[in-house]
Amino acid sequence: MSTVRIKIDGEALDVPAGISVAAAIARVPRPFRRSVKGQARAPFCGMGICFECRVRIDDIAQQRACMAIVCEGMQVITDG
């Protein structure tokens, strides 16, 4: 399976092409975001409804990691 290189919070990571950004972050792993009271959160609904997995992708904030597909050179910032 071919891979793509992305960066998660500045750390380079080779992941299988075609997987979701959520699945890439799960390989690190770390909280996707902090809730308004500081709790660690991660994907919950898996289908773009709950917004628990939102991260910053290529400088656009509040993107659902479960709905985005990794691509070469992508920069992901958690809790963004």
Binding site: V15, P16, G18, I19, S20, A22, A23, A24, A26, R27, P31, F32, S35, V36, K37, Q39, A40, R41, A42, P43, F44, C45, G46, M47, G48, I49, C50, F51, E52, R54, Q62, C66, M67, A68, I69
Partner: protein, 428 residues
């Protein structure tokens, strides 16, 4: 200028696909869109490692490659007004118009609160399936599947195929009712075959009835759960808990368009006539948005809607098959009705609104969604009450309120395309 299509289909699951295919076969120019990057919806979601189910792949290829079809992936309807839809994809916002609109917006999971449900590692049952199909690493992970309905078996099979150690499947319905349901399956041979095949795939995995996950615990992430069953409380160490209590129709767009709603239990669905017409001229609805009916039902209703919307005649046998498929859904609902014990799981400190971290005790004094929202911010976060509003309705507190555009969180540039409240003559 808005782009114009004869038929616009919102949603690319079985209902949307069948609708698009039927409309294309009658010579219509069809736009079909979905929030996801690939077609198939939830039930036919493409698996990064294993592809689409074969039947799904054939129809997806036929529709995608059709000269009169325009496929719009990663696209959401942000608003709808005066016969136009305002769409947003990752790079732009634009408007389209239609002669007829077919709503095939499907369903989401019914996700209910219990202590620990916000811990990383806890997901929906269909949720884990969706994540796994998109490459979520499960190899060697200890997974527990819980909640209610046949979806649990499908979720367990997907987790197993992706290398998970599935420790058990915990169904809230009692053993007696599940057995009674199994004895009725012969009426739907396709479903029986599916059940037999799932049983074979899940050989060796415990399937426990009358069992409810009462609590999840862990330090920053899930470490263990407590399952309350016929033989008392069992503590299970695990890495992932996938828990789903069934499905709820995605009616937000239909509601905004003025379609007539009915309630199934605590949740609204779109009322349609025999041709899937909603009663709003030129707007049709098909599949789960018309009440949870399952994949086969969605496919048949999509086909009916696609034919009706293009003025074709609908064969009586198609309508007969659709009624038979709907009967399966009724049998499911009857046998997998939720144990009210589930509604008492959240404690005073259990967060109900995950976006705004609102605990149950903060909601005690409120008896409608608006009052709760104004005082506590419950339902004001990014999910727009899709999770907490639906859960509170199911728990018998109050119905979800305030559905209005943007129907999903949108970029400022997209919102600039919305008609202002002043131009609509209302500030509501």
């Amino acid at each position: 200028m808005a782009e114009h299509y004869n038929i616009v289909v919102v949603g690319a699951g079985p209902a949307g696909l069948a609708a698009a295919e039927a409309a294309l076969s009658n010579g219509a120019r069809v736009a079909w869109l979905d929030a996801q990057a690939t077609a198939g919806g939830q039930v036919w979601r493409k698996d990064v490692a294993h592809g689409w189910p074969r039947d799904a792949q054939n129809v997806i290829e036929r529709v995608t490659q059709h000269a009169n079809a325009t496929w719009m992936p990663q696209t959401q309807v942000i608003s709808a007004e005066s016969g136009q839809l305002l769409l947003q994809d990752p790079s732009r916002a634009w408007r389209i118009t239609y002669d007829a609109l077919i709503l095939a917006t499907g369903a989401r999971e019914l996700l209910l609160p219990f202590p620990g449900w916000t811990l990383p590692g806890v997901t929906g049952a269909g949720g884990l399936q969706a994540l796994a199909k998109q490459g979520w690493p499960l190899a060697g992970r200890r997974v527990v599947i819980a909640g209610s309905g046949p979806l649990l078996l499908a979720a367990a099979a997907t987790a197993k195929r992706h290398g998970a150690r599935v420790l058990g499947i915990y169904e809230q319905a009692s053993k007696t009712t599940v057995q009674r349901f199994a004895r009725k399956l012969w009426r739907w041979p396709g479903k029986s075959l599916q059940a037999v095949s799932l049983r074979a795939q899940l050989a060796g995995i415990p399937y426990r009835c009358g069992s409810i996950v009462a609590r999840a615990t862990g330090d920053g992430a899930l470490q263990s759960i407590e399952v309350d069953g016929p033989h008392g409380v069992e503590r299970i160490a695990c890495d992932q808990l996938a828990v789903g209590y069934g499905l709820v129709p995605n009616v937000e767009l239909a509601h905004w368009l003025g379609c007539t709603m009915q309630n199934e239990g605590a949740h609204p669905y779109v009322k349609v006539d025999a041709t899937q017409c909603t009663g709003v001229p030129h707007i049709y609805a098909a599949g789960e948005v018309c009440g949870i009916g399952g994949r086969d039902c969605a496919w048949l209703e999509g086909r009916i809607a696609g034919l009706a919307a293009t003025g074709a005649t609908i064969d009586a046998s198609l309508l007969r098959k659709q009624r038979h498929a709907r009967a399966f859904a009724s049998a499911l609902r009857e046998h997998f009705a939720l144990d009210p014990y589930i509604y008492d799981l959240p404690g005073p400190d259990t967060l109900i609104c995950r976006c705004e971290d609102v605990p149950l005790h903060a909601l005690i004094d409120h008896d409608d969604a608006r009052s709760a929202k104004l005082a506590t911010r419950c339902g004001m976060g990014a999910c727009q009450g899709r999770v907490c509003g639906t859960a509170l309705a199911e728990l018998g507190r109050f119905p979800r309120g305030g559905l209005r555009p943007p129907l999903f969180p949108a970029r400022l540039a997209t919102l600039g395309e919305l008609d202002s409240p002043c131009s609509q003559g209302s500030f509501s």
